[in-house]
Symmetry: C2
Subunit: 249 residues, 2 copies
Amino acid sequence: MDKMNHSSAEAEAETIEPLRYLSKGEVAAIETELLRDYRFGQQQLIEIWGQACAIAITKAYPLSSLAKKQPTVLVICGPDQNGSIGLVCARHLRMFEYEPTIYHPKRSSQSLHQDFTVQCEKMDIPFLSYLPTEVQLINDAYNLVIDAMLGPEADCANIKEPYSGILVTLKQIKTPIVSVDVPSGWDVEETSQDGINPEVLISLTAPKKCAASFSGKHFLAGRFLPYDIQKKYELNLPEYPGTDCLIEL
Amino acid sequence: MDKMNHSSAEAEAETIEPLRYLSKGEVAAIETELLRDYRFGQQQLIEIWGQACAIAITKAYPLSSLAKKQPTVLVICGPDQNGSIGLVCARHLRMFEYEPTIYHPKRSSQSLHQDFTVQCEKMDIPFLSYLPTEVQLINDAYNLVIDAMLGPEADCANIKEPYSGILVTLKQIKTPIVSVDVPSGWDVEETSQDGINPEVLISLTAPKKCAASFSGKHFLAGRFLPYDIQKKYELNLPEYPGTDCLIEL
């Protein structure tokens, strides 16, 4: 029996194709397909992704492993989808007994984004009105910084204030950074980057080209993805264990 | 150290209030508050609940425990919110390697409900066009039946076709039934019921009065519930373990 399992595992291993790393165009095409053809809702996808990010953070940094007395986490949210995911992530972290604080410099006019913001406010999650430029203040106050600023759709060659200033600060802090989907400021398709240096990356749906040489802890969250899309884009996703919504690559 | 933990656990146990079982009015009030004041979206809540139901099913009936060769599950979906939750549950069960089949006798005209339906259709989950009245056919074909028909808002004194007929069938089958939130046909507030007899009940948010004397396996799924609502309605929810979205009561 054991021998049979071995040989079938070997046979399978031979046919396993390597994980695909997506271009910017492929990311957009998959999302369009999910929304238009599969009729997923943005609200639904953002909830799925944000929850998965929070669970990834509990795996990478369990409460018991945090250096500071309080389980503080700073979640920096951008104005678009990545920021909404950060808001959902903060809400779930609160349910997991972490103490998130949100820095959300530019509120979106999109009603969905506003709804996610209200959910956090009503959960008594504090919002910072500005980010200290004094790096030591961040190092002292937070166990972790979650970078949910700029998603794969952002133009990294043209990052404006307040995000360019925040990136300068994030390059200097000693607090570990967890990036959501694409580290803010990185080119989605470039493997060598001189931007921020996250300790953890949580790729959503499938990793992007820029993640191919990422040497930190790398999670993939996107189990909801229909099999037909996985096949069409030849994603060769790994098998998620049990009912887990994410896997460490 | 061990002694200290013991005494603090005892002190805590003294102050633990019993779990609240909700009336129909309280169920509606909590949902209104979630949607209106906390700005949760229906799509978001249904996704959270449906995913939790699928995970509960994997806990109660792991793939390895199923009696039949194929991991078949029949998911019966009603026309309203309970049915939408069933559709999401079926989709997640598919991702967990079960083989769900959906029976959805009355399609809703609500666009959200239709979106959840399309998501299942595009995942190649088969839809039955009618439910066999021959009970043996159901017993032979399915390991489980998921009852996602009538939610707490349904008027159990006035159940119409096709649901009344389906309930007659469900009372006769030997296949174990898993009910979502409230077993279809049960009065939300009555503890003694002569309707269907589910083996598993998955209460959403908080259990309803009818669940107080339920003797089967009982799960509670609703970890997202803001602490202020938990306090306001004195729900006295148990502590969810780790990052689990549900707990067995």
